[in-house]
Symmetry: C2
Subunit: 440 residues, 2 copies
Amino acid sequence: MTHLLSTSCTIRPPATKIERTWGVHMTYRTSAAFGYCRCPIFKPFRVKLQRKNTVYATAAPITIGVEQLPKSGSSLNQNGNSSKPKKVMVIGGDGYCGWATALHLSNKNYEVSIVDSLVRRLFDHQLGLNSLTPISSIHNRIRRWNSVTGKVIQLYVGDICDFEFLSEIFRSFEPDAVVHFGEQRSAPYSMIDRSRAVFTQQNNVIGTLNVLFAIKEFSKECHLVKLGTMGEYGTPNIDIEEGYITVTHNGRTDTLPYPKQASSFYHLSKVHDSHNIAFTCKAWGIRATDLNQGVVYGVRTDETAMHEELCNRFDYDAVFGTALNRFCVQAAVGHPLTIYGKGGQTRGYLDIRDTVQCVELAISNPAKAGEFRVFNQFTEQFSVNDLASLVTNAGKKLGVDVQAISVPNPRVEAEEHYYNAKHTKLIELGLKPHLLSDSF
Amino acid sequence: MTHLLSTSCTIRPPATKIERTWGVHMTYRTSAAFGYCRCPIFKPFRVKLQRKNTVYATAAPITIGVEQLPKSGSSLNQNGNSSKPKKVMVIGGDGYCGWATALHLSNKNYEVSIVDSLVRRLFDHQLGLNSLTPISSIHNRIRRWNSVTGKVIQLYVGDICDFEFLSEIFRSFEPDAVVHFGEQRSAPYSMIDRSRAVFTQQNNVIGTLNVLFAIKEFSKECHLVKLGTMGEYGTPNIDIEEGYITVTHNGRTDTLPYPKQASSFYHLSKVHDSHNIAFTCKAWGIRATDLNQGVVYGVRTDETAMHEELCNRFDYDAVFGTALNRFCVQAAVGHPLTIYGKGGQTRGYLDIRDTVQCVELAISNPAKAGEFRVFNQFTEQFSVNDLASLVTNAGKKLGVDVQAISVPNPRVEAEEHYYNAKHTKLIELGLKPHLLSDSF
């Protein structure tokens, strides 16, 4: 945690007005809090990079002046096992988790392609938001990765809802595994209005359907590693298992998909995806892993830390920023931490360094043909109040006085509830967690 | 059953070639079996009506030369309760269940509007299919209903995926209840190819999302009566409850949504709808009833029997026809009944006279604000083999020798399984079933 609240970082946060539109009342503005300041966060990022958002669609891989060194994608992965997937397509590879994952896999000698429509950058423009950390264009990112490591990442810019585009890149790249981050991933965004709710479900559900059809048609053995969310389960009053639950009822027993109780149109879109994928595993023999991920925090991974132009995004706004990110920024600028309601809302969390580990573990240990495998991908549970305490304590260590206030909750959710979610399967595969609680 | 296999009906079934595309092998042709024949089925339909398919979009109600008699929609329904919904919008009111329901509700003095894009008729054109019974255009149907009963049904032709259209008709009609049949409803259709799978999920999920947003925006108290399907549950090895199941797990207990295991992109679309609706009930206080309907059979209701121009459709093809319908037609023309695989596939069934009863019961006993109520809407369970036996026995009574053969199953489904689904809630509300087994 303290690495998030450290010293001597010069950044220029954008003057941003953020209004919450999920629900009726919550208005959260940061414009007054920021200006051109020297604020004590995010040591790794000292350089303001020039933004360059060039968005165009192509199904041919884009080469951006990279040195065509011997390609990465050695047939041996870190375990020295040559039978494991070699070519990995990262859909949504320009996003927060996708970018870190693409670099990590490339560094692990997978042959990586990034597929992205770059629409996430458009959302920032449309909503007047921005990453607190300056992020480079995807073209510069990939060029820099090549110059730093000699490794090549192919880039396909386009929309996977366009099946013609998707078909072409499947035929061109011939992936052994597809990691699918390419979805609208913000619950608040999906709740802004009808058109964004519809966009979220249409984009996510149809995009995933297209990926499933592309695998069936072009790469039958390809392993789909799909990012789900722990939010699919909601907050049931019983333990959350990993995807399935064995139920005995009226004297009979069956193992069934764990019941889903999502609480936003975004989370619901992931529920829909899970059902669709499970069916295609059964009907077509697709091999799939659904990573029900918790809330991800952190910016640095070994790879993004290699060069400032590789740095990852940090969203602190009320649409794309998580509670922890917002609290860090609020603490840094002397704004009280805004806790929604009672603050007992408990969720699973993980460090982005564990996200990239988990995805690599899933790829290197693929699901069997016809198997729909579900992993709960998080390492620790925290309530919102827990997070506020962590940030407050981190502030104390840095001599920053942090206050917290309760604000009306714009979400319809239980604010005090039981929460105990299992998360052993990735540990069993070898995950070595980076724990937030260890950093205090 | 015998009323389905009776005598002296002159019809002209279309010469139709139907090829199964769900799965890999099943090819089912009826063209050779039919010609211009006098076949011993469907006594009620003796007249061939001229087809007239005029499809156009409008958000203003279409008046089709109806006599503007005093409108129906008495404030008293059959129970004499004036507080119950009066104005009912039937989305998909030109379809098989929708048409029968619209007439039934109109006959029960609800003020009824039909909303339909008429795309179901387009599917027939595109696939070269046709109803065995000659059905009139929606315009002629409504005009005839008016001339026979004096009752007015308003017609809005348009697509509910077009929110501008939907908004206008909500503002114009101001429904107290919406009965939503307006979805692509064939599992085999959704499995033909990618574009039809995507169409099915996009049309059904986005259409329902739009209805939910329209209710939230324009008719907050409006009761949504949504047609789901028993197919959402799949065939679990435990009893199927009505929507929810109470689970005790690791010493704790909760009542959760019943786990879903749908087995086609169509059935999955209904699963997605159910999750979306449940969320909006919780988040926005929508009142909704999800009618998880079984397989519907029969053509006649009290209302459709009033005039030949009111007659309902009968689909016997492999895309829109159910097993029972296909078996009846096969028996009638001397074709062996084609049983998919082992024939142990068991589902819930109901007479269309019970469909219209159930919908009226749901409307006249609305869900509470914020309640997501689930009824399993069927009256009997049969396996495919049971159906074949029923049709064989009915044939015997009529002196028709009926044979049955097993053909390779084009579907991925259990062919022998446990099946015991609860269906008491509609009985408790007053449903008086018409049982198929009673007709022997």
